[in-house]
Symmetry: C2
Subunit: 457 residues, 2 copies
């Protein structure tokens, strides 16, 4: 039987809903089990509470766990969902998830609720989960799982394959096998591919790879992602400072990390805090955007007060006001461009190849080139349009100076923040834009006031 | 022997360079072969031409191919590097790479050079590569490889494992095995895990998974990435419209796609074309940034000419100019926020869950809320600062209206572009900012002119 996934998705949903409405447990189970866990999760997340409770009666905790760990819902929803289950059922579901995912769910709960599930949970699972709960967010430890396969170097390929067959049910990946010494220290790694192509009697110590790529448990999850991407690894072992194997990070977690970091930088450039979760109401959306807008409002008032100081100049040559948005806008944009290049370069690690001094020199050069070209263009256009040579000259020079300063600031600010151990992406688009608004207006009105006599006829 | 990778990297490099300087071929090979392909590539990319040519004499094309495919260099450099090799050696290197990677390299070359390598290449490899060369960029076909493992459904697990052992040398992944019918149509899929946990005499047809998740060869690579991420797949089969298996996409390619797309959206929000390759000189950097800056320059001149129409109003109430950057800036920023949410939502597919009408309504609501709050704040601040009630009122109302329009436009524009089949990320930050500059200035000066009598004392 061939099956196209997308076309039948709605049909599947309808059949399942019908089974639920008519309380046909067996028919529901038969259809539901055919679905991929991701599709099961999609179906579940669309259900009303009443039907969700039905599902808990239809499925065992093990069956629920399969899709519960790929559920794509807001953190806040987990508490509600788990509260609707029998406590023992909820605890069993958590125990049947891969440990890293169970930890993720428990971290969304209040401390008391999490502790109560751990108390009624089967001891071994509770112990493993507790071991992971205390790792700090965004560290390698916080995304690792303890469901890996480990063997000893004095085994043969045959006995290793035997262990694998047994562990295959529970381990999150069986495609890498880790070799430990008597003190649980990581001494080698083997891929399943290596096991398959070597004969049964080969000793593990002969074929294992001992130049292990591993990461320390406290390292940043971004570093883990970078290593796995660079070395094309499906899993990365996580070790403590004595090289004991604590867990592994699997590739699905890394894809999430890469996605998350990219979204994060993007949100910051746009000045929206935490864009990852979809907002349902305009109130939650407004809550996320207002902090930036209000900061910018006060920065904008400061800009306004700066222009206010030049009111005298303005009242004499009111045409000056006409070019304010042009100059401020150009400076803001070239600053954002330069910022984005620096932030992205720092995030991907590409910048390390280039010395910081070199980057600054390059940005200064870039600002000079773009500034000169735009400056000349503007002078010509203003002269043709207004017929005023000096005004064109003034606007042109202001653009040149503003673009130069803005481009330089766009790279200096993130580098400085990185030095101060602040996430450079925080020096985001709106912030650098306003900063450049201010400098460009000072340049423009400063020059205009200095050369006032040439402007007034 | 235990080995920490990072600490010894420089030491490794030094030893290797020493071997090269003294022409110690065997010593070099011994050290070099210990390195992970990624580290080999890092070492190679730092070498001068002279030493690179030495490497071609030290290593076989197969050995070179191992790290050549993970080389992280600019597209333009491949031509130069390949030209420095013997043509036959270059062709053999390409033939020994995974087909998708060989295609990537050939696509960076001129047509004549690529064709000449294909001519001297071993026939079978040339044929496979040619088959992939004609797929359009960014399609599933363009990133797939033909190095997969396929079996028939009438085999047993034992015979499937036998085929796997044989194919393991060349296949890019052996962790998924594809089941084909007599006409090469995809009818099932099995993971290596399934093969390992089932007994040797089990028939493939009994254990294969027939709800196959596959993608059409012409589909967008982003769709492939999304499916692989959602379903946690290590490889995704690529089929034609008759469901013939043409190739597979492996997870390492998908990580590249996710990275690339995220960078791409980010660049567009910042108004920089193609940020992926590091610029070495300010001239190349300026070339990438100038197009946007010049477009914005002319849009800015248009804004200036709009303000010019209100010169009369301005000359009477010069204080109006003071608030131009504030109002334009706030509108620009709230537009960018709303745009970023919409673009990101479209990119991650999250938006499909929410109807478009709902999104627009939500954004309208958000604009109203943020606009009201910022508007009231501004009115109060202006009144306290300048002591002018009506001016405060005017600025406040302008902020409210501008934020409402900008927030709405920020979501409408990308949705419209998506409808017109234009990449919504193109409606980038700088563009929407300038658009909102214009509308906000029209609102502000329009209101000011209408109620002029209240402003002039």
């Amino acid at each position: 039987m061939e099956y196209k996934l997308d076309d039948n998705e709605n049909l599947d949903d309808e059949i399942l809903l019908e089974c639920m409405a008519e309380n046909k447990l067996q028919a529901f189970r038969k259809e539901f089990m055919k679905l991929h866990p991701y599709d099961q999760a999609q179906f579940f997340s669309k259900l009303e509470l009443e039907n969700r409770i039905k599902i808990y009666h239809y499925l065992s905790p093990t069956e629920l766990a399969t899709f519960f760990e790929v559920l794509d819902i807001d953190d806040a929803e987990y508490e509600e969902i788990l509260a609707a289950m029998e406590p023992k059922y909820a605890a069993d579901t958590l125990a049947n998830m891969y440990t890293d995912n169970a930890v993720d769910v428990l971290n969304t709960l209040g401390k008391d609720q999490a502790a109560s599930y751990l108390t009624i949970m089967e001891k071994e699972s509770a112990h493993e989960i507790k071991g992971l709960l205390h790792y700090e967010e965004s560290t390698a430890g916080s995304i690792m799982t303890t469901d890996f396969v480990a063997i000893s170097q004095n085994q043969t390929v045959r006995s290793a394959m035997y262990i694998l067959k047994y562990e295959a049910q529970k381990a999150e990946t069986i495609y890498y096998v880790y070799v430990l010494d008597d003190e649980s220290r990581l001494v080698g790694v083997l891929s399943l591919r290596d096991l398959i192509i070597n004969s049964d009697d080969t000793m593990i110590s002969e074929i294992m790879y001992n130049r292990i790529i591993s990461i320390s448990v406290g390292a940043d999850q971004e570093d883990a992602a970078r290593q796995m991407r660079d070395y094309d690894l499906l899993a990365l072992p996580v070790v403590d400072f004595q090289n004991h194997l604590l867990g592994i990070i699997t590739f699905d977690d890394i894809i999430d990390v890469i996605d998350e970091e990219a979204s994060d930088d993007y949100s910051k450039l746009a000045g929206v805090s935490d864009m990852d979760t979809m907002d349902k109401s305009p109130f939650t959306a407004a809550k996320k955007r207002l902090p930036w807008l209000i900061i910018l409002l006060f920065l904008g008032m400061f800009t306004a007060s700066l222009i206010g100081r030049f009111e005298d100049t303005l009242s004499k040559v009111s045409i000056l006001a006409v070019f304010i948005p042009l100059i401020a806008g150009m400076a803001g944009n070239s600053g954002t461009q330069s910022l984005a290049v620096a932030v992205r370069g720092l995030a991907t690690g590409e910048l390390q190849e280039m010395s910081k001094m070199k980057l600054i020199m390059r940005e200064a050069g870039t600002g000079l080139i773009t500034g000169s070209i735009c400056g000349v263009l503007v002078s010509v256009v203003v002269y043709v349009w207004k017929g005023e040579l000096f005004l064109g000259f003034l606007v042109g020079i202001s653009i040149l100076a503003s673009l130069f300063v803005a481009t330089l600031a766009g790279s200096l600010v993130p580098l400085l923040m990185e030095k101060l151990k602040i996430d450079p992406a925080v020096a985001s688009g709106p912030f650098i834009t306003t900063m450049n608004d201010i400098t460009s207006i000072l340049i423009y009105f400063g020059l205009a006031t200095m050369f006032m006599s040439y402007l007034v006829h």
